[in-house]
């Protein structure tokens, strides 16, 4: 339960002269919900982008532990698709679905990196390809049921209500069978009702044993969901610990909560 699955050491990212991430350490343990919080512009999304290979960090190390395969994989410098293959899957803060594909197809895309058929398979559609296709459809269908979107299966992703689009992003990421699921502000822009539904969904996924790291703005949501919280400000980690510890941490109150009260 408490084995480390993700380990980040001294992660630093410079954009020209600006240091967006400064020597960041972080770890996520198997089966937990970890959260990364911080005021706007603290570098949270940059951190995700470094983790998932969209940005190449200037310094630092990222290791993913695959206990099942007894391997320690360095993710730094890998292409995004390789990172996903190794077991990190993410959602996006500003929803990035495939708008003109159906809901089911969106999830099927998530199965891409776990399946093989290519040109030859497509042309001849042999028994193995057909079996693979059926598995993709079945599993995608199951995931959609789990997130409660199966009735939208054949609608275009762009026609879904906002909250459902967010859930579809989670479904799509789950389809890659991630070791660790990264959620980038999953509740952003949601109404209170949708937020409650989302919290339930995340808890449900976590109960299934899925490890989750999420970025969030909404303090209340983070406090109720997370097992451990990391707080960052100006690219630096300023605190870490259990929710009740964070709530009382003076550095966090001045950097984060203080600012919110001002605003």
């Amino acid at each position: 339960m408490s084995e480390t699955i993700l380990e980040v050491h001294g992660l630093t990212m410079d954009f020209g002269g600006v240091r967006a991430l400064n020597n960041l350490d972080l770890d996520v343990r198997s089966g937990e919900i970890a959260a990364l919080i911080g005021p706007n512009g603290a570098g949270k999304t940059t951190f995700f982008n470094c983790l998932t290979g969209l940005y190449l960090p200037t310094k630092g190390d990222i290791f993913l532990y695959r206990r099942d395969k007894d391997k320690k994989i360095s993710l730094k410098g890998l292409k995004p698709n390789k990172v996903t293959e190794h077991g990190l899957a993410r959602t996006f803060q500003n929803i990035r679905l495939f708008p003109m594909m159906t809901v089911l197809e969106n999830v099927m895309i998530g199965r891409h990196c776990r399946t093989k058929a290519f040109v030859i398979g497509a042309f001849f559609r042999g028994p193995r390809t057909r079996r693979e296709e059926e598995e993709i459809i079945e599993m995608s269908h199951r995931i959609l049921e789990k997130v409660g979107l199966s009735r939208f299966e054949n609608d275009f992703a762009m026609n879904l209500p906002y909250g459902a689009q967010r859930r579809l992003e989670i479904a799509r990421a789950l389809a890659t069978e991630p070791v660790l699921l990264l959620l980038d502000e999953p509740a952003a822009g949601m109404n209170p009702y949708e937020t409650i539904e989302l919290v339930n969904l995340i808890q449900e996924i976590a109960t299934d044993g899925q490890s989750i790291l999420l970025i969030e703005h909404d303090m209340k949501l983070v406090m109720s969901l997370s097992d451990r919280i990391f707080v960052m400000d100006y690219g630096k980690k300023i605190a870490q610990g259990r929710p009740e510890e964070i709530r009382l941490n003076p550095a966090v109150i001045t950097a984060y909560l203080g600012e919110e009260v001002d605003a």
């Binding site: 698709n81 495939f98 089911l104 497509a122 299966e153 890659t176």
Partner: protein, 407 residues
């Protein structure tokens, strides 16, 4: 329907166009004989033409805006065309296919070999369009140098035939594979470029190939081209000219059927889904574990493969090729076919090819305005109906999984 104000506005616009076209449409000078020709009749044509067109332009723009509002309310899936609805029902679909196939089979017996020849050309454009459709329509990569791969196929047959006497059937796969290889070679460095840069690089590449063919006389015999290329063999029997034309026609019918079958399977496959996803959002695609370069390369080289194969057929059909057949205009024509038909839509591309290639052939009076019309089609389709005359059939594809699930 039109208010007085709109009519007034159109009148002003048509006056503007008279001014605009004046030095090109009305005046025609001869700088050697120092004479000026004033074609005043053209003023009238422009005046009337632009008045009507400006009304239509604004009417369609208005209608498009109205429609996009409605689409959002109803969801896109309801607004399907008649052809789609017919093709969903298996009974009608098989009937339509049967009729089409029957017509294709008896066509040579009902018409002259001139007509058969034209139809063969049209079928070649159908396949070219379907090939480019993989690249542009499915994978969303605007390839403006598609004709280069066509040229690779045509020249590989012409040269291998000329130097080594290789026959059509031997070169057919070679030409296709060579073109696909070129696709991979070119694709490797350029496919990480952004969409519009990719378009320009492929355009540049296409022109380079043509210019090299034109100037490297020792290799390609330069602008004069290569003649006396063998027609396809028929089990070693020499065919008369008429028979050869009919033979190539049937070959093309076969190619079209095979192409439709394969492209259909491609777009229904894991790879096809990845292409469409790549077209929609590259970053999300990569984050879902799709290898961007590998997937794009597959689209690029498969498109090239078809172009190469049709290039071989082209060389065998005309028995003469030169670089003039492989200009940018050729790429633009194929692109027009895909855009008119509907990017990503197989039936659309087929109809697009038949309309654009056959119409100017049968309406001789129009053939002069062919390229003008192609240009106008590209603009108008993009402005009024970017999804093409028959929007992508992929929309019905999504229903298959459910059927299979329930079964």
């Amino acid at each position: 329907m039109f208010t007085l104000q709109e009519l007034k506005r159109s009148a002003l616009i048509s006056l503007w166009f008279v001014f605009l076209t004046f030095p090109i449409m009305v005046v025609k000078v001869n700088s050697i004989e120092k004479t000026v020709q004033w074609r005043w009749m053209n003023v009238v044509y422009v005046l009337v033409g632009s008045f009507v067109l400006s009304l239509l332009f604004r009417y369609f723009l208005y209608r498009k805006e109205q429609q996009s509002g409605e689409d959002e309310q109803q969801g896109d899936n309801t607004g399907r065309s008649l052809i789609h609805r017919l093709l969903i029902v298996p009974k009608y679909r098989n009937m339509i296919y049967g009729v089409l196939l029957g017509t294709a089979v008896v066509f040579p017996f009902l018409t002259s070999s001139y007509q058969v020849n034209i139809m063969t050309t049209a079928l070649m454009y159908v396949v070219l369009g379907l090939g480019l459709n993989i690249v542009v329509g499915l994978a969303g990569l605007l390839d403006l140098g598609y004709v280069a791969f066509y040229a690779v196929g045509a020249y590989s047959y012409a040269l291998l035939n000329y130097h080594f006497g290789l026959g059509f059937w031997a070169v057919l796969p070679i030409g296709g594979l060579l073109a696909a290889m070129f696709g991979i070679l070119l694709g490797f460095p350029v496919l990480r470029l952004r969409g519009d840069y990719l378009a320009i690089v492929t355009l540049g590449f296409g022109e380079i190939i043509r210019l090299v063919l034109e100037n490297w006389g020792g290799f390609s015999q330069g602008p004069s081209g290569i003649s006396n290329i063998s027609r396809p063999g028929f089990f070693g029997i020499e065919l008369s000219l008429e028979m050869a034309i009919v033979y190539i026609y049937y070959l093309m019918v076969l190619f079209v059927i095979v192409t439709i079958f394969l492209v259909n399977r491609l777009q229904d496959s894991r790879l096809g889904r990845a292409w469409i996803a790549l077209r929609e959002d590259e970053i999300a695609c990569q984050a879902m574990g799709i290898d961007k370069i590998k997937t794009k390369l597959a689209a690029f080289s498969l498109g090239a493969l078809w172009a190469g194969i049709i290039g071989v057929v082209f060389a065998a059909k005309t028995t003469f090729i030169n670089p003039a057949s492989f200009t940018f205009l050729e790429s633009a024509i194929i692109l027009s076919i895909v855009v008119l038909g509907g990017m990503g839509s197989i039936i659309g591309v087929i109809i697009g090819a038949l309309v654009l290639i056959l119409l100017p052939e049968y309406l001789r009076a129009l053939s002069e305005f062919r390229m003008l019309a192609f240009g106008a089609i590209l603009v108008c389709m993009m402005v009024f109906r970017p999804q093409g005359i028959i929007a992508s059939i992929r929309r019905t594809y999504t229903y298959k999984p459910r059927n299979r699930d329930e079964a």
